[in-house]
Symmetry: C2
Subunit: 294 residues, 2 copies
């Protein structure tokens, strides 16, 4: 199977599973139809499905059961999706476009967008709790919870919005990137490994890989915002600068950002080497993500 | 022990536990200090602690372990707290006061209020996942998840905001009250019973009690908004009417609302009779809640 075919297979699996989960919440004549429509709108707005893909691949590498991992893969995508809806709100980043489409609140209004985010966050835990069979499922759910809350993603978002328009030191920027972006990517890999019953060494290697992949991914994003192509990104380039966001290029300059990207990439790839098994897909995925131009 | 002492004991237990949980997330020099402050502000804004109290009491009646139930009691209070923060937002009910104090977003700004709500919702699941020891803990967590999301509380909130200013039929109003208010009160009792390993009959009696108590509680709230005393409620009376909210008195009239309150109260109390054990506290609590004047 080619890399492209492999990736497409994962994407199809995840999107089918997401359709089925949300369908359970949905009845055509229900009073809360608009809420469900709003949830579905953002779930099916064309994401890369990167986090669930990483989760399923980590689980596969360590010999885990793919079917049993799918609800957890959906859960992390739902958490990611809710965070984008709330991030785009007028009180937050105030974005009108996301992946080239109108943002949730532009279509459904602010109140429903807030509630759709809340419902997706809740749904993530609901489907994991339904799927938990043993300690491995509990461990995977806990990893996601710890990475998503005030000590993880939400903590990172809070510092991101509070420092808008204020030039920050590099350690604060690293805190933002680590928490806002890297922790959820790292969680995906750790969850997959936990579901497969990975050893302490394996968990640590996936965790290290995930952390550095996440940091590299976010620095790449910052660089693309300056250098990328507007049409390919689906959002206006320079939008971070316009919003006066703190980014790697802004704080340390373009050359130092590229060096940091290379360094995180190098460490990420060296962490993969500690993992036994077939890591070809994971390595290819990492290198494509970090050399992408959109 | 008097009823008042019993209630105060529960309140102290819950508030101590809440302090300890949030303290874990807190470090005085952390970057995300403002987020933690905002979470703490609403957690300690003087709630009745009704839902965790009902959970602990249902668990006690069926002989469950109180210590083990405490994290789940905290979780339902965190879910309730997050929902109030998001409900008060300018895009939702746009309230400046809650329990006589400025609402979260008035103090911390909209962005942080949205994120504090998200973090509290996430934290609720985090502490339950940490506390789960067996199937009973999973069952209790699932009850909360099912009651809080799009098929529960958030679903009710979505219809509530969408029907503001539109006069609705009684069935839609009942849908709103059932989902927005009753489901979480019902969940508290079902969770307590589940944690104690309650039988199917016991679960059903607690569920029936909780549902009707919740409906009665919300109808009482609607009536108090018209008849209550502003100073005692801590918010302006008539605020529902000002916001053009759909309430029982508005849709069916004051007399029919009082009749519905009586009927739900009657059924709630008859459901308690099906539960063996010492239900004196639960009955007293229900009758106080439904005859309160603030």
């Amino acid at each position: 199977m080619t890399f492209e075919q492999n990736m497409l297979d994962y994407k199809t699996t995840i999107e089918e599973a997401l359709k089925n989960i949300v369908f359970l919440n949905c009845s055509s004549n229900s009073f809360h139809r608009k809420l469900i429509d709003s949830m579905n709108y953002s779930i099916h707005a064309g994401g890369k499905r990167l986090r669930p893909m990483l989760l399923l691949e980590a689980n596969r590498i360590l010999g885990g059961d793919n079917e049993k991992a799918i609800p957890f893969a959906c859960a992390i995508e739902l958490i990611h999706t809710y965070s984008l809806i709330h991030d785009d709100l007028p009180a937050m980043d105030d974005d009108d476009l996301r992946r080239g489409k109108p943002t949730n609140h532009t279509v459904y209004g602010e109140a429903i967008a807030i509630l759709a985010g809340d419902a997706l966050l809740n749904l993530a835990y609901e489907i994991m709790l339904e799927a938990i069979e043993d300690r491995r499922g509990i461990d995977a759910s806990r990893i996601l919870a710890e990475s998503s809350g005030s000590r993880g993603m939400v903590g990172g978002q809070s510092v991101d919005v509070l420092t808008e328009g204020i030039s920050v030191e590099k350690d604060i920027l690293e805190y933002i990137h680590m928490n806002k972006t890297s922790k959820l990517i790292q969680a995906a890999l750790k969850m997959g490994a936990a579901l497969a019953g990975g050893s302490e060494e394996e968990m640590s290697a996936f965790s290290g890989f995930g952390f550095h992949l996440g940091m590299a991914f976010q620095i790449k994003d910052d660089l693309l915002d300056i250098e990328g192509n507007e049409a390919m990104l689906g959002k206006p380039i320079g939008s971070d600068a316009t919003a006066d966001k703190n980014t790697f290029p802004k704080i340390v300059g373009i050359e130092a950002s590229k060096a940091a990207l290379d360094e995180h990439t190098r460490i990420a790839l060296s962490e993969i080497e500690k993992i036994g098994g077939d890591t070809v897909f994971l390595k290819t995925l990492a290198s494509r993500l970090l050399s992408r131009n959109s």
